[in-house]
């Protein structure tokens, strides 16, 4: 069955990653190491289509198990000048997947001579994720504006996609969706849409342990992108009200002895740093 040919779908993965990962998993414990915990982005990400375009939103916490690895990471990735993508799931997977598709889309755009369409990016992402059968843990919210108007897609790690007017993904998606289901209306104005997305991400930040810190927003309209990072610092670190430093002279000095160490320079060599 390992030889079963997937055509364009699985030759690479079946031959390379599947075997390599299985081998590593088997041997790593014998060597005494533990496999590294994948850094996940916990996350609340969401997007909404409004009158003139799309608003994408994300929190900024990246977790490694139960510890916050990055308090201010950027989860809204660039795909093309008119298309951005929020990523939830394994941080490395979302980062690399969006970079690969961004690169391919730029080449495609140069080849066609046109601004890329959101549906093209969606196709590329879903076909790649399906090829890897869910082993690439990237759950994405893809949004942008092209010649056919604003579009918003949610893309799941196994390769299924949904085209909807509002979507949420990540561990905080249920909290964010609750806000959307209550207050979404078609054809909102920009300020209302930004407020809605901000509130949805805030719901995720305050009610989900995997999400936290600030709220990033990305407003995409025809011909313009507003990358607001941070849009809202919902969790500013507090200022200490008192100081624990002791005043000079708190500890009385009884004796003081100074011993100079005379060293002579034996050899001196200079190595210039390559700062080109």
């Amino acid at each position: 069955t390992e030889e079963q040919c997937w055509g364009t779908w699985g030759k690479n993965i079946k031959c390379v990653c599947f075997y390599r990962n299985a081998l590593l998993e088997a041997d790593i414990n014998k060597l005494g190491f533990s496999s590294p915990a994948a850094r996940k982005t916990g996350t609340t990400i969401c997007g909404v289509v409004y009158k003139d375009g799309v608003v994408l939103g994300a929190d900024t916490r990246a977790t490694e198990g139960m510890v916050v690895a990055d308090k201010n990471c950027s989860k809204i990735h660039y795909i093309s000048p008119n298309i951005y993508c929020c990523g939830a799931g394994t941080a490395a997977d979302t980062e690399m997947t969006t970079q690969i598709i961004s690169s391919n889309l730029e080449l495609h755009s140069l080849s066609t001579g046109r601004l890329p369409r959101v549906t093209t990016a969606n196709r590329m992402l879903k076909q790649m994720l399906f090829r890897y059968q869910g082993y690439i843990g990237a759950a994405l919210v893809l949004g942008g504006v092209d010649c056919n108007g604003p579009h918003l897609y949610s893309i799941y790690p196994h390769g299924s996609t949904d085209k909807l007017p509002y979507v949420t993904m990540g561990s905080g998606s249920l909290a964010a969706m609750a806000v959307f289901e209550d207050r979404y209306r078609p054809n909102m104005e920009e300020e209302e849409a930004k407020r809605l997305v901000r509130d949805a991400i805030a719901a995720g930040i305050f009610n989900d342990l995997g999400s936290g810190s600030n709220i990033d927003l990305c407003v995409i309209t025809k011909g313009k992108v507003d990358y607001l990072r941070p849009h809202d610092m919902a969790n500013k670190k507090g200022v200490r009200t008192g100081s624990y430093r002791y005043k000079h002279g708190t500890t009385g000095v009884l004796t003081k002895a100074v011993t100079p160490l005379n060293l002579e320079v034996v050899e001196e060599s200079v190595q210039t740093m390559d700062t080109s």
Partner: protein, 236 residues
């Protein structure tokens, strides 16, 4: 004795399909998105009526409550998708490409049987990896309205009426007792809407709105029946 044999066979089949489900899910590691709903297709004189619910679930969370499971494969050929959303979307995209190419080569509208065969080829060849139950339905000039069912495992058979998906188990009785040959388009639409409503009522993986489409020589007419407009049955 007869009863015992029947029961054993049924249980074995259930176990086998359950085992297949577990094996695939375990291999996948993550919970697969999209164990979806209820689909149905009925032939009538001059075309087909197809219908589906609109719910896609990831475990107990409804990922999309307004899914469109009636996917156009060609101008007058549709497929109703049930099972894993990722698998069925990928298969439908591949078959759409293959059928489009074939149609251009032929320089005429493709047969519904051709589309069904393409689905069958893919679903049977990769049966171990896929979880896809598909109903192919459409109209072609040679044989009129046709419904072909391609359930998990990759069998293909033509049926005058076919149901599929997790919610279909609850409406086999209703469909078997209420289907008559030679129903009109309106009767078929009513029949499909009522059957899907009953399935959505009882199956947790089915719900949302009822999407219907009529495919005939004249083209495609789509309609949506929203939650509050669904046919009402006695609530016990």
């Amino acid at each position: 004795m007869c009863v015992c044999v029947c029961v054993c066979v049924c249980v074995l089949q259930c176990c086998r399909s359950a085992a297949v489900c577990l094996c695939s899910s375990a291999r996948r590691g993550l919970s697969c998105n999209g164990w979806s709903g209820t689909i149905m297709a009925v032939e009538f004189e001059g075309g087909v009526v197809i219908g589906a619910d609109s719910r896609t679930t990831t475990g107990a969370y409804i990922a999309n409550r307004v899914t469109d499971k009636l996917t156009p494969i060609h101008e007058r050929i549709f497929c109703c998708r049930s099972g894993s959303a990722a698998d069925t979307q990928a298969i439908a995209d591949a078959v759409t490409y293959q059928l489009g190419f074939h149609s251009i080569e032929l320089d005429e509208a493709p047969l519904v049987q051709t589309a069904a065969s393409l689905f069958r080829e893919m679903c049977y060849r990769y049966r171990e990896e896929l979880m896809a139950g598909i109903i192919v339905a459409g109209w072609d000039p040679r044989r009129g309205g046709q419904v072909y069912t391609v359930p998990v495992g990759g069998m293909m058979t033509r049926q005058p009426v076919s149901v599929g998906g997790s919610g279909s188990s609850y409406i086999y009785g209703y469909v078997d007792s209420n289907y008559r040959a030679g129903m009109s388009k309106e009767e078929c639409l009513k029949f499909t809407a009522e059957a899907l409503t009953l399935a959505m009522e009882r199956d947790g993986s089915s719900g949302g709105v009822v999407r219907l489409a009529v495919v005939s020589e004249q083209g495609v007419e789509r309609q949506v029946i929203l939650g509050n407009q669904l046919p009402k049955f006695s609530t016990v």
